[in-house]
């Protein structure tokens, strides 16, 4: 069965303290891995799509990387405004038009 697992469940960082979030997946024939940011009470905001192992994407302090089994979202020198829940998602095996989401990592960045 396809699975998307995110770790840690929650992460507390001090401003400027870099770290990584993990998204591991078990699907056959990956057709993309998607990262989203969700602020409390709002809909998820699309961040990145990664399609193949070795691919990297960057946006401000965020960098997403992809291997054959997992993806990492690296946060460099985070600021309090980076506090949010970060979700990853993959299309399930053999199914078009849908995404399977992980349960997310809740990131809090403090001063």
């Amino acid at each position: 069965e396809d699975q998307v697992t995110q770790s840690p469940e929650a992460l507390r960082l001090q401003e400027g303290e870099s770290s990584s979030l993990n998204c591991s997946y078990t699907v056959s024939g990956l057709r993309g891995l998607f990262w989203y940011r969700q602020d409390p009470g709002k809909g998820p905001e699309f961040l990145f799509t990664l399609y193949s192992a070795g691919e990297e994407k960057e946006k401000e302090r965020l960098k997403a990387t992809l291997t054959k089994k997992e993806s990492f979202l690296h946060i460099t020198a985070p600021k309090p405004e980076d506090s949010a829940t970060y979700l990853c998602a993959v299309p399930p095996t053999g199914t078009a038009s849908k995404l399977t989401f992980g349960t997310g990592t809740r990131l809090q960045v403090t001063l």
Binding site: R31, G43, T103
Partner: protein, 110 residues
């Protein structure tokens, strides 16, 4: 550019009452449309998706239903709400695999 709207933003309804949530998309044609529910502190649960007018796929058996009367309009309904229907309802649109979400509706069933 594309824009997705949902309304209402918040809703408080008694058990047994009907429900209608609406979602519309602007700036794109023939999008895939999705309804998700997110319980407090939990992940996104796909409820329904549609690849075209009148085409609805249901993911989870429940007392909810969905309809797509127009290309860019998606409606989530219930005839009688249950307490367990409380949650944050999200509409999304997509062209291929990427999905873009609306602002959500917070539903509280009392």
């Amino acid at each position: 550019s594309q824009t997705i709207h949902q309304w209402p933003a918040t809703l408080v309804q008694p058990v047994g009452s009907p429900l209608s949530l609406e979602c519309t998309v602007e700036g794109t044609s023939n999008p895939n449309l999705y309804w998700y529910r997110q319980a407090a502190g939990r992940g996104l649960q796909l409820l329904f998706y549609s690849v075209g007018i009148g085409q609805i796929s249901s993911e989870v058996p429940q007392n909810l239903s969905a309809s797509r009367p127009q290309d860019r309009q998606f409606i989530l309904s219930s005839k009688k709400l249950l307490l367990s229907d409380s949650g944050f309802y999200l509409c999304a649109w997509g062209a291929t695999y990427e999905q873009y979400f609306g602002p959500g509706t917070r539903l509280t069933v009392t």
